[in-house]
Amino acid sequence: MAEATLHVFRGDASGGDLKEYKVPLEEGMVVLDAIHHIQGHQAPDLAVRWNCKAAKCGSCSAEVNGKPKLLCKTRMDALPLDAPIVVQPMKTFPVVKDLVTDVKWNYEVNKKIAPFTPKKNAEWRWKQEDIDRVQEFRKCIECFLCQNVCHVLRSHGRTDAFAGPRFLVRVAGLEMHPMDSLNRTKYLKDDAGIGFCNITKCCTEVCPEEITITDNAIIPLKERVVDDHYDPVRKLFRLMAGKKED
């Protein structure tokens, strides 16, 4: 039976290195299958997060041959098998153990976003086309691959000042919801640090849900921030047109 060779990071916060494993190849196999095979037959304590195994929960995020991927969605037959497949934890977050990283920071960021706050006495009717865009944002499975690849977080480590693409998408979903009554542009400018994003679109490229993060979420939010906080004339127009205010 054909075999694949994997080099899997084994270690924890204090360090570690790549360990070699060989697994039998099966038709249609994904990298997570290979990791499970290693767990079940060679290294029972190999740590990996996973849940749905169907690219719907966003748990098994890691880096395969240096690229941010969901392990459950990465087919072995899409990788060159003449060289070892290198599987490592996401680089942006601190390693807990093996392929598991500490992603708690993301949950803290989420708490700071003002929640959905519906308009009072409004009728809850809208057209499908009015929510297509919001539904795109709500496809997010919180795999945090966009956070992992964003250079503001990955290279510059600015978790102190930048919420990251995932949470800009979340804010976009709230801001563009036809029933929401809040304005979050001050939060976007001062707390979420939207100005740090220089629209290199790395996040969009890695999104397994194919959310057009940069073009559909971040750029329109940047425009709102500019309108509200740097352009008094545009702000006046928005107010006169009945748009929401802080």
């Binding site: 249609g28 994904v30 079940g40 029972p44 740590a47 996973w50 749905c52």
Partner: protein, 579 residues
């Protein structure tokens, strides 16, 4: 040896599980003023509810104005072969519409009708289009909405934390013992009330749509705490799981494919459902469709990988991609199949357990003081077979009720009890023992054997002979698991976690097999080749499982009688269902 050697948290209501039921329970308990903690095995937002695809059933009447709670109630009871707890089915049908609207007011964004209201789709066993949905990712929408609503209520979430034992004061539940996945360190919770919302048992089977978390934890915690489980023989095989490639075998293919007009054919191109349920065809109930596919394959009319063909390619490609986007990607990514151009291969997969903790319909209270349960870990709501879409609504309706029930109980309960050091020490010893053994079987091999046994001996069609062999096999594995050995450290060690989960799966597998042996008839999801017909005398009894020392005991108890005004809804349909 005092319990306070460990990190300890005091809460009024401890919710175990953070899927739809757990989060809804936590939100309600918190809204009632209780101090709430939620413990979950995974990260927040990853629970199996995200895998629910097709929709949430509620008689909103947006697509069919004639729909009503009474029709929904009737469909649910008939789908459950009248074994449902009538009061749960009634509350569920009555309250589901409010729960769905409430979700919308918390920010959920459902697909719309032409006139701008929540759109509803057809599903098996529902006599009107009834499922509010978001494409085929309704569960994700629900869990994200509850998660984002809940975090602003001051609910403490203990992520990647696993409860291994409930703590008792006499016969009363007063807390829980748990470990942190990340470090392996132990933690205790003192609680005035505990809500179990741990989902199902699918991982006891080889072919399942369930994730690693579905290891019967709540069922086992409840049984060991002295609670009763009911109807454990009713394990739902979802008719349509992927059959190929091997790595995704069992992965769910939403019933929405059939709801949107998908057809099922055998290898001869025959729409075989006409031989099993000519009236409802593909939109028959799940028990019927699963057995039909199984039978077609068994009799040599299956597809190349041992399934049936499910085809939606007669619909416009754009419609398929809009209404079933994750199915489109799932088949393209995993099986190289474009479902807008050709059929999928599908077969039955273990999806859900109708049985669970016996609860009071109105409050979610179990038969043990201080213990509550909701969602898949509770029993009674779905009877012998659950209708698609009735799970998400169940989570909302009874999650809320259990949260309210637990908060009300906690408000009247005495102050936190001191945890019994002997119980805490035994929980600790149990967890550490596998590290201390010099030799012993590894948990993965025992798990594989359990899955093989349950799949082949306690599966979709059952016989007394197979079930008896199944009970013996599980008993042997229980003995083997007592000697299990794990390697490595306590930090994020999946082998160790599986060793713990195995105990729960083994115990509950035994309960399933024993209940299945006891019910000598075929009803809903429980099909006996040696008793192929309904037995009217068994239509009035629940199976009950309890713990006696280390043994699982099964018995029967009469169903609560349905009031006449509800019973009259069924004349004359039930003539053939129940005596």
């Amino acid at each position: 040896m005092t319990p306070d050697r460990f990190e300890t948290h005091d809460v009024d209501v401890l919710v175990i599980g953070a899927g739809g039921a757990g989060l809804r329970a936590a939100i309600e308990a918190s809204a009632q003023g209780a101090r709430v903690g939620v413990v979950c095995k995974s990260l927040l937002g990853k629970a199996h509810t995200v895998m629910a695809e097709g929709g949430v059933a509620a008689a909103l009447g947006h697509v069919d104005p004639n729909d009503s709670w009474k029709v929904h109630f009737k469909d649910t009871m008939l789908g459950g072969k009248m074994l449902n707890n009538w009061r749960m089915a009634q509350l569920h049908a009555q309250e589901a519409p409010d729960r769905v609207r409430e979700l919308e007011h918390w920010g959920a964004v459902f697909d719309r009708t032409q006139d701008g209201r929540i759109l509803q789709r057809n599903f098996g066993g529902h006599s009107s289009p009834r499922l509010a949905h978001v494409g085929d990712r309704t569960g994700l929408e629900m869990i994200r909405t509850l998660q984002d609503h809940g975090v602003h209520q001051g609910i403490e979430v203990y992520m990647e934390c696993t409860v291994t034992q409930l703590q008792m004061d006499g016969n009363r539940v007063v807390g829980a013992f748990a470990y942190w996945r990340e470090t392996g360190r132990f933690v205790t919770f003192r609680a005035k009330a505990v809500v179990l919302a741990t989902g199902g048992v699918g991982k006891a089977y080889k072919i399942t749509s369930n994730s690693w978390e579905y290891t019967a934890d709540g069922h086992a915690l409840a049984l060991r705490a002295g609670a009763e489980l009911i109807d454990m023989e009713f394990v739902q095989f979802h008719p349509t799981g992927m059959v190929w490639p091997p790595g995704v075998q069992g992965l769910l293919v939403t019933e929405a494919v059939r709801g949107e007009g998908g057809t099922l054919c055998n290898k001869d191109g025959e729409r075989f459902m006409k031989r099993y349920d000519p009236k409802r065809m593909e939109l028959s109930t799940r028990d019927m469709v699963a057995r039909a596919i199984y039978t077609e394959v068994k009799e040599g009319r299956g597809s190349p990988h041992g399934g049936a063909y499910l085809d939606i390619s007669h619909k416009q490609a754009e419609v398929v991609k809009k209404k079933l986007p994750s199915m489109y990607h799932q088949f393209l990514d995993f099986a190289n199949i474009d479902i807008t151009k050709g059929p999928m291969e599908v077969g039955p997969t273990v999806h859900y357990i109708m049985g669970g903790v016996r609860v009071d319909a109105d409050s979610g209270a179990a038969t043990v003081p201080g213990l509550f349960a909701a969602g898949e870990s509770s029993g009674g709501m779905h009877g012998a077979n659950r209708l698609g879409g009735n799970s998400l609504s169940d989570l909302l309706v009874f999650g809320r009720r259990a949260g309210a029930g637990a908060a009300a109980y906690a408000a009247k309960a005495p102050a936190h009890a001191t945890l019994d050091p002997a119980q805490v020490s035994s929980a600790e010893r149990e967890l550490l023992a596998p590290f201390e053994r010099a030799s012993g079987p590894d948990p993965y091999s025992i798990h594989r054997k359990l899955q093989d046994s349950m799949q082949s001996l306690v599966g979709i069609f059952r016989t007394a002979e197979d079930l008896e062999r199944g009970i013996e096999a599980v008993a042997a594995l229980r003995r083997e698991a007592k000697a299990v050995r794990v390697e490595g450290s306590r930090a994020f060690n999946p082998g160790w976690h599986l060793a713990r989960d195995l105990d729960n799966m083994l115990l509950i597998s035994e309960a399933i097999a024993r209940c299945a042996l006891q019910r000598k008839e075929s009803r809903g999801a429980h099909a006996r080749l040696d008793y192929p017909n309904l037995d009217p005398s068994l239509g009035g009894v629940n199976s009950v499982a309890t713990m006696d020392g280390e043994e699982v005991r099964v018995a029967q108890s009469p169903l609560p009688p349905m009031p006449d005004e509800l019973r009259s809804l069924f004349e004359p349909e039930t003539a053939g269902v129940k005596g």
